[in-house]
Symmetry: C2
Subunit: 364 residues, 2 copies
């Protein structure tokens, strides 16, 4: 079997095992929930629906981190860890979509939107939006608890005081802190010094995304397999810039992405008022009246297509898009160089390279 | 030392130990958070503030459940468990206050309200309310994660697969399910059959409150100390009706409570549209035009004092208050009879009796 075949077979088997584990986990919880009331079904259905899709980026980082540190192919611990990461991501998305007022997720309605539609379809009383947000807060909380239940099921390797547990804890705290800094910048950014905006946006990226999406999942897999400090250090040198490139790509897609491939409306990040690195570059480099235009339009939920087109033009003309693409390239290069230096066997190294390539060049 | 003195000294020492544990726990997390950004301080401050106050009902149920099952006075495990329960309660309150749009908590502003006020005081951009809700969602998520971190620190007795872990997991899932049923009844209740309203309200009480506030914490303490199935069964027979009485008392206070002692505006439950057992009795027993009046007013956030007074009058005149007080008495009696039958030593039995008396007769 060629290396490419081995990579494909093993990765496919792992993704299928995580999907199976998630199905079993949720079906066991469903049987507990159904003893309470069938009215709980929409919460469980929303969670199932969310963990069915997605790129499984975090689970795959965890798997190849585990394999790179000598963990066995297809071992139960890393499947359970992957399932915990996917459940955590689902919980984060549910609350994130309420926070960002995003009505769409992966081409379908987001969870709060589902509950709003349920309310309207049933002709229930009082305010449908308020009900939808409340139900989605609770669904996210339930999913967050499930994530932790799943993580604990790893057993001894993730017991109290273990390195894996510390990484999982730090990952959760950092992503929540990073998300707060993100919404804080939306409201406080316009009042803070413009010169610091790019570095603030880079710090947000690091905590809300890079550490969470790539660095910690990779380290988690490594730690579960007993990786040395040195290997974990090398993992970070690869995964942190990779994650930064990943999020910068996300920011570009948030303004320039094709709704057909991203599953979200065009220019959604602008309506949400996200002060990304891309936007911070534009505010810094555009003409004063163009910066003022962006400042006035950011965070307006009713931004029309012409406004989005004008902001895109400014971002391109002032060089902000180019500067961001350059950063993506630099972070990507740093990641690939660090990967080359990692003392890994061929299979995990190849797998991480492919994962990194897909991450940096993605269109959705 | 008399039994009463022993009880007081031990309970005081435990409450102080839980407070100390919470302070140490949050200060260690604060030092992690401050490496990210000082902007995170308001999240940590809100959590600290919430876990400083409160009746410590859940922690105390856990402690006396532990002592009743033979656990040592002042052992670290039960202090850590109490701290995890208090952090979970804080997380639940933060999200609950967003869901119920409660601006006050224990006489001060609720967490989302604190962030709204921070936004306004700083003169930040965009919508202060939206920012406040988003920040409070994230603060609650962080607190939920902290609760689990604290629970895991118990160590072996709460390891994967342990009885204590199963109880903690079930407690979380059930309270979230119960809270969903609660908000569902607010919107779906008016369209569902009125004859079933009292039993639906009783089911909500069981899951969102009785199991969560008394049954599971008591069982958790017992399980940590290695209680037998029989003892845990006896604990439930006591704590479940106690918790039901506790929540029914809460419902009465939500309509008739004195704002000075409850720390919340008078009639707050009515503005929130809560379809409690008290309200369900009233809808069932009042004159048709009175029921219609309540139905029309429930969930109106701008309900005025005259409306609150009129609903109170209807609840009293139709016998709904009396019926609820009777239920409280019956549940209380069932709880005390079950307590008498428990094979406990004098100290934990006395302690649980005092805790139960305070719970059933409280005014805040």
């Amino acid at each position: 079997m060629s290396l490419a075949e081995q990579w494909r077979d093993e990765q496919t088997a792992y993704v299928a095992a995580v999907a199976g584990k998630l199905t079993d986990f949720l079906s066991s919880r469903q049987s507990v929930m159904s003893t309470i009331s069938q009215d709980i079904d929409p919460l469980m259905g929303s969670i199932s629906n969310l963990v069915t899709g997605g790129k499984r980026l975090r689970a795959l980082m965890c798997y190849w981190g585990w394999r790179g540190a000598g963990g066995d192919a297809g071992a139960g611990e890393v499947v359970t860890a992957g399932s915990a990461l996917e459940l955590f991501q689902a919980a984060a998305l549910i609350h994130d979509d309420i926070i960002d007022r995003s009505d769409m997720r992966r081409g379908g309605p987001s969870v709060h939107r589902r509950f709003i539609e349920l309310h309207e379809a049933q002709g229930w009383a009082l305010d449908s939006e308020r009900f939808g947000h409340a139900a989605a807060i609770l669904t996210g909380d339930l999913c967050l608890s499930f994530s932790e239940e799943s993580f604990t099921e790893i057993g001894d390797r993730a017991a109290s005081g273990s390195r894996a547990r510390l990484i999982f804890n730090l990952m959760r705290a950092e992503v929540m802190a990073g998300q707060y800094l993100d919404i804080l910048e939306e409201v406080a950014g316009p009042r803070r010094d413009r010169a610091g905006a790019v570095s603030r946006a880079q710090s947000i990226i690091r905590f809300k995304s890079a550490k969470y999406s790539t660095e910690h999942p990779l380290a988690l897999g490594g730690a579960l397999a007993g990786a040395s400090d040195e290997l974990l250090h090398g993992y970070s040198a690869f995964a942190l810039p990779l994650g930064e490139a990943f999020q910068l790509r996300d920011d570009v897609l948030g303004v320039f992405g094709d709704p057909v491939t991203t599953g979200k409306p065009a220019g959604d990040d602008l309506r949400e008022g996200k002060r990304t690195v891309l936007v911070a570059f534009a505010l810094d480099q555009a003409l004063p009246e163009e910066s003022a235009f962006i400042d006035a339009k950011l965070g307006n939920p009713y931004l029309n297509d012409a406004d989005v087109a004008e902001i895109r033009r400014i971002i391109i003309d002032c060089g902000a898009l180019q500067a961001t693409e350059l950063l993506i390239q630099e972070f990507g290069q740093a990641a690939f160089e660090a990967l080359d230096a990692l003392p890994l066997e061929e299979l995990p190294k190849t797998a991480l390279r492919r994962l990194a390539e897909a991450t940096v060049s993605r269109a959705s």
